[in-house]
């Protein structure tokens, strides 16, 4: 799919339960601006059970960023924390939710991981 953001949220919705978020509850609203419009995504977490929608709801944490940046975070090529420190991601409300949530973004695409490169575990043969 050419839209990493859409793909990211679709994958998240498909997972249903995310153990990483098991101690989180609340609703995040993502306002992603791009192409002259702002898309709203709502992620509701109930002790790790996750649902995704575009419906208007009361949000505990609002996250604003550019759509293009979010695409890169969803693809693992941009890091949410350093982007926030650069002023590219604005947050409002329960910071704990977004600190938990950003851990769902993938790491940078790698090619070396499974080839026993330096710094990666070797599997016993």
């Amino acid at each position: 799919m050419s839209d990493p953001t859409k793909q990211f949220f679709a994958d998240l919705a498909a997972r249903g339960h995310v153990p990483l978020l098991k101690s989180s509850s609340g609703t995040l609203r993502f306002d992603l601006a791009g192409g002259g419009r702002t898309a709203h995504w709502y992620v509701t977490i109930e002790k790790g059970d996750v649902s995704v929608s575009h419906d208007t709801a009361e949000a505990d944490c609002v996250v604003r960023s550019g759509k293009e940046l979010f695409d890169r975070m969803a693809a693992g090529t941009a890091n949410a924390t350093s982007a926030a420190l650069r002023g590219l991601v604005a947050t409002e409300g329960d910071l704990r939710l977004i600190i938990q949530f950003q851990r769902l973004f993938p790491g940078p695409p790698r090619t070396c991981a499974d080839r026993g490169e330096a710094g990666y575990a070797r599997r016993p043969t």
Partner: protein, 706 residues
């Protein structure tokens, strides 16, 4: 950092100034107003009629508040000032400064009071490494406010400066025209605000203002409750009370509440430069302080758990399950010129996380937290096997994947030359240092206990115990230096032993990985003249190629390291040896007025007579602050067994009586008492030292007899 600098702080906001309260920093000079790892003021200079002021005295009211008493003119022997100046400063979201001028003359005066302000917005890393800025500065006057700013692309930081009295604001400061009647006074409030420190929210006032006592509940009043909640100590060695109180007060100052913790605190690593979350330091300090302030451990576990690694990221040396090393908020982190967002490059924090969780439950009975953090603990245990075994041989190894800005040595001895062979040569990477294997063993054993008793997963418990037993068997074979009778500091990639004798063997005793039959030899080494200076065990043994009594990790004595060694010696039944370690370190603490430095020289006590401080930038240092606390535990032999606290005291020579009252835990509150020997060589009016005199006396007697 020189000691005549005045430091005050709250959270990660702190001010370092000279004794007049002035700041005049060059890029590499560590003075200024800092917040979230950025310098918000590099210049803050007060003049009266163009003259600098002169300090009469400085009064540290609290760790977040200071008062400076000043007079005009440069320092001379005799000062006959008709004017005095008082600056009272409280830190919090910037700082609030109450500026007061008193006219002692019989005639009225007209004065020009000026505050010069500027900021270089340096990142802490830039201060450390003298790097040049890449962005642009601006400063502008907005109504009655001076705005100092810095911008680089979308990154911006601003300092807002304003006063409550009429003044002329220009782009480099504030000027007041002041008229003071005979014996009158003039006063104003200066507000310096770190307007946008890290996450984009803007504030326009500092946290504390004049007389706003109600607005400062968290630290000042918190301190009283903090001291009140801690166990009470009584001892006939009177300095122990002073050392104990110093530790508690310093630990209070080191409390750091992350923005997500709901106001709960964990121990930061050091003051002021390391007022941030550190995996290793926060965990070790929480362990040391468990019998005294168990809530620190709970917050450490929760906050580190919430930031546990979730993906592979080479730049940050992150893996799923890994516990972070260090978090930073400055410009270089923002632009990924440094990996601290957060950085995960430590290899011990992850097993130690599991160790702390188990130890915390054993003390507090808080099984709920162990259930809450089951996922995190399992992920940490899985990381040991899945990500840390770089050679596929069942040991924990480390090798940074971030070759440019990552840490080379990811164990606590993290300087470049800390891990060496006997002949002084350095092994290549990856490296498997010995204490890591001990931590992994302990994590598996403790993980098994939690799995069996709390997670109700006996199969997982069995698996962990089997792995642990196997690790112990192999370790005792593969790391043991037969001819020396000790464990090598590390193993290299060829399977060779990195055969230097080091203080790491103390950590091995603590972890429990050591075969009983080998423990005695380790205890003997720890107390030998090659490792024990009389003050403490030094990091590397005398006679090793790289030994240097003032080498950071190759010969100095680290109080924290010693507290772990004492704990390890107790674990294997070496009570007297543990007591001697406690004696030396506590006696050293007495020389440092109760505040142990990060490290001090490894020179033999018989030669130097006093412990030689190693120059270090942070004081207090968290795990040095925690050291006396852990030593109290080891001297009293406190050990939670089931629902009870077992007390098995072994006091060093010089302490006749030691009482610790109201020790909190799953038992409610209990008291512990210890009685010991006091037959030290005490000359009239001489300071009663711990341990060493009696020890030397015995040695002398033995020498005389033979």
């Amino acid at each position: 950092m020189s000691d005549d600098l005045v430091k005050i702080l709250e959270g990660n906001t702190f001010v370092v100034s000279d004794e007049r309260g002035d700041i005049e920093a060059s890029l590499t000079d560590p003075t200024g107003l800092f917040s979230f790892d950025t310098r918000f003021l590099s210049k803050w200079v007060l003049t009266v009629d163009g003259q600098r002021l002169n300090a009469l005295s400085t009064d540290d009211l609290q760790y977040f508040e200071t008062r400076f008493f000043l007079v005009p003119g440069t320092g001379t022997v005799y000062i006959d000032a008709k004017l005095s100046v008082i600056r009272q400063r409280a830190v919090g979201d910037g700082f609030h400064e109450e500026l007061t001028l008193l006219n002692h003359d019989e005639t009225a005066v007209d004065l020009e009071v000026r505050v010069e302000a500027a900021s270089d917005f340096a990142d802490l890393f830039e201060v450390k490494d003298a790097l040049q800025k890449k962005g642009a500065y601006y400063s502008r006057v907005e109504e009655d406010r001076l705005v100092l700013g810095y911008e680089r692309e979308t990154f911006s930081r601003e300092t807002w400066i304003a006063a409550t009295s009429p003044c002329k604001v220009d782009e480099s400061g504030l000027t007041f025209r002041v008229h003071i009647e005979p014996h009158g006074e003039w006063t104003t409030d200066l507000h310096v605000v770190t307007a946008n420190a890290a996450w984009g929210e803007t504030r326009d006032r500092p946290k504390y203002e004049r007389h706003a006592k109600a607005a400062r509940p968290n630290l000042e009043y918190g301190l009283e409750k903090w001291l009140d909640d801690a166990p009470k100590l009584q001892s006939d060695w009177e300095w122990l009370k002073m050392i104990y109180t110093r530790s508690l007060v310093d630990l209070a100052a080191l409390r750091f509440a992350p923005m997500t913790s709901g106001g709960r605190s964990l121990p930061a690593a050091g003051l002021p430069w390391f007022m941030t979350m550190f995996g290793r330091d926060s965990i070790f300090t929480s362990l040391q302080a468990l019998p005294f302030t168990p809530e620190l451990a709970a917050t450490t576990l929760r906050e580190l758990g919430e930031r546990q690694g979730s993906r592979c990221d080479d730049f940050r040396d992150e893996d799923p399950g890994r516990i972070l090393h260090e978090m930073r908020y400055g410009e270089m982190t923002a632009f990924e010129e440094r990996p601290h967002s957060p950085y995960f490059g430590s290899v011990d924090a992850t097993p130690l996380y599991v160790v702390l969780l188990d130890e915390y439950e054993r003390w507090t009975g808080d099984a709920k937290l162990v259930r809450e953090l089951e996922y995190e603990a399992r992920a940490a245990l899985a990381w040991i096997d899945d990500y840390a075994d770089l050679m596929g041989d069942g040991y924990i190894w480390y090798q940074r994947r971030n070759e440019k800005t990552g840490l080379e040595n990811q164990c606590w001895k993290d300087s470049w030359d800390s891990i060496s062979y006997h002949d002084g040569t350095l092994p290549g990477f990856p490296r498997a240092t010995c204490e890591l294997q001990g931590y992994a063993y302990d994590a598996k054993m403790r993980g098994a206990r939690m799995a069996r008793l709390i997670w109700k997963d006996p199969a997982f418990a069995d698996k962990l115990e089997k792995q642990a037993a196997d690790l112990k068997r192999r370790f005792n074979r593969d790391f043991w230096v037969e001819e020396g009778g000790y464990f090598a500091i590390a193993r290299d990639t060829d399977g060779r032993k990195v055969d230097a004798l080091s203080s790491n063997i103390g950590h091995l005793l603590w972890s429990g990985i050591v075969d009983k039959s080998k423990a005695k030899s380790l205890a003997r080494h720890l107390m030998s003249s090659r490792l024990y200076s009389g003050w403490g065990v030094h990091t590397l043994a005398e006679g090793e190629g790289r030994y240097n009594p003032i080498g950071y990790h190759v010969g100095t004595v680290w109080p924290f390291d010693n507290s772990i060694a004492a704990w390890g010696l107790r674990r294997y039944g070496f009570k007297e040896e543990a007591a001697r370690i406690a004696a030396g370190i506590l006696d050293a603490a007495n020389f440092f007025a109760g505040r142990l430095p990060e490290a001090f020289g490894g020179y033999p006590r018989a030669i130097t007579k006093y412990p030689v401080q190693y120059p270090t930038s942070c004081s207090p240092q968290a795990w040095s602050t925690g050291t006396p606390l852990l030593l109290l535990r080891t001297m009293l032999g406190l050990e939670p067994i089931g629902e009870h606290l077992v007390v098995d005291p072994a006091l060093p020579q010089g302490i006749g009586r030691l009482e610790l009252l109201d020790i909190p835990g799953r038992w409610g509150r209990v008291d512990a008492f210890g009685r010991g020997r006091v037959d030290v060589d005490k000359k009239p009016r001489a300071r009663q030292q711990l341990g060493v005199l009696g020890y030397e006396k015995r040695a002398r007697n033995r020498a005389r007899k033979s």
